[in-house]
Amino acid sequence: MATSQNSALLPSQAKFELKPPPYPLNALEPHMSQATLEYHWGKHHKTYVENLNKQIVGTELEGLSLEDIVVVSYNKGDVLPSFNNAAQAWNHEFFWESMKPGGGGKPSGELLDLIEKDFGSFDQFVEEFKSAAATQFGSGWAWLAYKASEKDKKLEVIKSVNAVNPLVSDYFPLLTVDVWEHAYYLDFQNRRPDYISTFMEKLVSWEAVSARLEKAKVQAAK
């Protein structure tokens, strides 16, 4: 990702970079194939980043952080042309970092406590998350997000269409699963529920989710 310092010096060269997943592309086998990651990261994610870079050149969005571009271009629902590419660039990076080789299992510590408080039990949370992912009509994402308003701080499961993500509703995203068909079609074809179960049981990085919760709480307290 371009730093603001760089972009101030060299506005015409301020570019977002395609950040690789924090593991080799074959590291999630057999649950998510190397071929899926080669296309999903190497083609889909790459195209979103490249198109975003082209779209923002010379606009007022140039030089902003990716998060800021997502929120600004969402424009309270009346989306600007760059929203789709910006949000998808952000979503995919967040998705890769939501997984790890040997993932799955159960969270611990404060994250688990909060899940039990807000969903009744870990199993109930899993059911709710899977159901959101399975019932998102068409392309989109399912999320675990932290909502921190003045009167209420809690975890919520939400689903979103196409490129939309919880940043635009002022939530802190903690975990996501991509339910665009390109995310699972090579490995699971039409069997989206099997893909979602595999994601939860074998791929989720609960360390990443816990770290995001920590960061969200710090930011929410500001």
Partner: protein, 230 residues
């Protein structure tokens, strides 16, 4: 389109006194229509594997869930449960739309040796030239609209029966063309959900949209056009 009659358990249990009700409210459910060609018959434009999954799995799932929603709707109406009736509308639109759209789509395709890709003749050919300049220009426009559609959906050539002209429209997810206007009749619908092309074309949707024209059944579109514009 195939349908079969199905009386729900609840209706049956009402017994003899409700014969009239049972007859008037018997629920029609839907089953998967046969394809008018073999799964592999559209190769190399669309692979047999894609056609088989698309028909047997995707279309079948829309039908299964549409039937389920219709049964729940039937029950809710009988109980006078308005909130459930309203709640079911999204599932009906999505799954019923999926059934409608795919049923049209299969008819929009034909193997090359059965006329797939042959340009439309007669009144539809004239209408295309009048509305879009040429068939090539129409094909370019539809392909461009399909390529730029975000997420999942369909791109359509429709007849606006009120304005008596051809229109190009896109719809999201499984929304049928009629959701864009009550006077719109679909002549040709192209599925741009990733499941329609991913195993063969991966992320390159424009290549799918380039090749599909080789197996478009213009004869079917012409038939609908002639009937609806008469």
């Amino acid at each position: 389109m195939a349908f079969r009659s199905l009386a729900t358990r609840k209706t049956l249990s009402l017994g003899l006194n409700s014969t009239r009700l049972t007859q008037s409210r018997a629920l029609q459910t839907f089953s998967l229509p046969d394809l008018p060609y073999d799964y592999g018959a559209l190769e190399p434009a669309i692979s047999g594997e894609i056609m088989q999954l698309h028909h047997q799995k995707h279309h079948q799932t829309y039908i299964t869930n549409y039937n389920k929603a219709l049964e729940q709707l039937h029950e809710a109406i009988q109980k006078g449960d308005s909130s459930t009736v309203v709640k079911l509308q999204t599932a009906i639109k999505f799954n019923g739309g999926g059934h409608i759209n795919h049923s049209i789509f299969w008819n929009n395709l034909a193997p090359i040796h059965e006329g797939g890709g042959e340009p439309p003749k007669g009144s539809l050919g004239w209408a295309i030239d009048t509305n879009f300049g040429s068939l090539e220009s129409l094909i370019q426009k539809i392909s461009a609209e399909g390529a730029s559609l975000q997420g999942s959906g369909w791109v359509w050539l429709g007849l606006d029966k009120e304005l008596k002209k051809l229109v190009i429209e896109t719809t999201a997810n499984q929304d049928p063309l009629v959701t864009k206007g009550p006077h719109l009749v679909p002549l040709l619908g192209i599925d741009v959900w990733e499941h329609a092309y991913y195993l063969q074309y991966k992320n390159v949707r424009p290549d799918y949209l380039k090749n599909i024209w080789k197996v478009i059944n213009w004869k079917y579109a012409s038939g609908v056009y002639e009937k609806e514009s008469a």
